[in-house]
Amino acid sequence: MRTTRAATHRRSKSEAGFTLIEVVVAFAIAAGTIVLGVSLYRIVGVATQSGRTAERDWVTEQFLRGQVEAADANSMIRFALGRERAREFGFVTRRSAQWGASGPPVLAIWRYDSDDASLRYHEAQIAPWWPEDRPPADLDYEEMAVRTHPNVWDGRIFSDIDSLQFGYWDERTRNWTQESPDPSHLAAIVRMSVRHVDGSERTFVFATNEASSFSSRSGSSPGAR
């Protein structure tokens, strides 16, 4: 009996556990593996997110370019549905976020939301069957800008914005203005200057179909000089 108990307490050679050195080495290898795995996971995650963000911003930028290019100057004149301000640009366009280029005209509003540090996009449909004799008050800009139903798309398109300012090219003065009092007016070129919270800056320039890209002014053929 005694012999048996003593044998139980005494570690035999075949029951050898790990020495301190072995445990430390095992921990070190395990820690190294974990650190390597976590680093890889984090780097790949950040890279994927960064790539997706860049691609999404590019697609958004191209959508905005196409939307300005498809601006409907006639509808703006007819319904007086324009808004050219330093922090808000509203215009009628034939390119919609909901229906692409094949749907009804929409009132698109780009608005800088300083509280949310973002550029918000609001889109309200203008029914193509709108009666000719309908009073223009039914197409009120303010009412459409807050409309939530039906056929309205509203959301954030750019975020982390420290400041944003729109500018509008005035062909008469050949300079940029920050706002136009005429709601039926559509600037040929719209500039959007963005400063992000990380300090990076970017200025986008959008041309409407009012911009005659290659027509030189009369009597301005420089090659004849």
Binding site: S39, I43, A54, W169, F204, S215, R217
Partner: protein, 137 residues
């Protein structure tokens, strides 16, 4: 190397060293490649920004005032540089070749011309538009 007896369990120093070396080699190979992914995302961002900048310059074309622009001729390519600081976009204008017939721009302007815009990262966008530059005669 001494042969391990059957009752001796555990790792030898050589085994542990090999494991550590393999782990270090894997880290040395994988981490720089993973960082390369970050660089790729940054390159993509710079590329998008540069391409967008070229499109910005295209949009600014309508603000181009040819009356005040500086025009220089180098053989059959005209370089138009606006004086207006707002639209500092040098354009290279050349005649459009139709059916292989390439008339020098100095002889006669073609109805449509090539207008090339240079981007920041070496991007070059060539547009075809109504004649910007007339003949010198």
């Amino acid at each position: 190397m001494t042969r391990r007896a059957p009752h001796q369990s555990g790792f030898t120093l050589a085994e542990v060293m090999i494991a550590i070396v393999v782990l270090a080699a894997a880290a040395a190979v994988l981490l720089p490649r993973a960082r390369g992914l970050l660089d790729y995302a940054e390159r993509a961002r710079r590329h998008y920004a540069a391409a967008g900048h070229v499109l910005d310059r295209v949009a600014l074309l309508s603000t181009l005032d040819l009356r005040t622009a500086e025009v220089k001729r180098d053989h059959d390519v005209f370089t138009v540089t606006p004086k207006d600081s707002n639209t500092a976009l040098p354009l290279q204008v050349s005649n459009m070749a139709v059916n292989g017939s390439d008339v020098p721009i100095s002889e006669a302007p073609s109805p449509f011309q090539y207008i090339a815009i240079q981007g920041d990262l070496g991007h070059r966008l060539t547009l075809v538009g109504p004649s910007l530059i007339g003949g010198s005669r």
